[in-house]
Symmetry: C2
Subunit: 170 residues, 2 copies
């Protein structure tokens, strides 16, 4: 149930409509917590009903602009400081690794190579983003930069792992 907190978090940067949030999700949070449009609108509705956000303005085309309330802010902070992050990791990429013995060594190496290449591609993409964001010094940039760095470091580790793993298979 973290979509709720993702929405609250984004609303701390100012009021926004469902449509606005959707766009922000796509460019910033999608790598960390993807969300579809139907999820977003539904969550905004629930959030409003629970009093964690309020409709602060209505615009053309039925646009509703939501603002975070004091209660919402409190809930966000509570979640950040008192709720332990869920540590479940699910990876069908890694699941396949367990069963690599089922296919022949050449195919297994191919598989690992593809994972390495994928990581490399991701890295390039993230480096591009890093260079773009480099300049900003606001909260969003500072912490967005830290989150990005997480992706960068993990991507590197994954690439190195894939290269190493490929060599393990004879």
């Amino acid at each position: 149930m973290s979509l709720r907190h993702a929405v609250l978090g984004l609303l701390t940067k100012g009021p926004a409509s469902g449509y606005d949030l959707l766009k922000v999700f796509d460019v910033s949070l999608s790598n960390v917590w993807p969300a579809t449009q139907s999820q977003l609108y539904a969550e905004l509705g629930r959030l409003a009903e629970a009093g964690l956000v309020s409709v602060s303005a209505e615009g053309p085309r039925g646009r509703k602009e939501y603002s975070i309330t004091g209660e919402g802010l409190a809930e966000l902070r509570h979640w950040m400081t008192d709720v332990e992050p869920a540590r479940v990791m699910r990876s069908d990429m890694l699941l396949r690794v367990f069963f690599l013995g089922q296919i022949d060594p050449g195919q297994a190496r191919d598989y690992l190579r593809r994972q390495g290449e994928f990581a490399t591609g991701q890295l390039e993409r993230m480096e591009g983003i890093r260079d773009l964001v480099e300049k900003g010094q606001d909260d969003l940039s500072v912490y967005g930069r830290i989150a990005l760095d997480y992706g960068l470091r993990l991507g590197q580790a994954q690439r190195e792992w894939a290269e190493w793993a490929e060599k393990q298979i004879r």
Copy 2:
């Protein structure tokens, strides 16, 4: 829908009952693809109905032992070679990082420190497992070892990231 393939993969190592598989999940696959008991039994039922596994023996207490069929093996291999792994990564740990500006710097540093400590703990746990498994040379050990190494490398990267990130906050 990878639970299905996790089950098929485990059954390549020999026939097993739902109960057996549950135990194997807990000790080996749970870090990669957790599953609950109800999920497992339900999946076995669907798998049997689809002809990917068959009931090869019935034991006491209504025990049903499932074996993978040729069709099941084919499906597993198809999944491994032809289906691209899903790349969605969802992390509420990282989601919080985006909003670290909402709490005060001391708390933010605490948060990052806890993430580093958690990674360290995980690493120790995984190193213990590695030392235990070290000896085996069967497929399971070889590829299990490679999967474990993934965890090890990512854990290290995460720990280093957390330590670095903590220093970024003034």
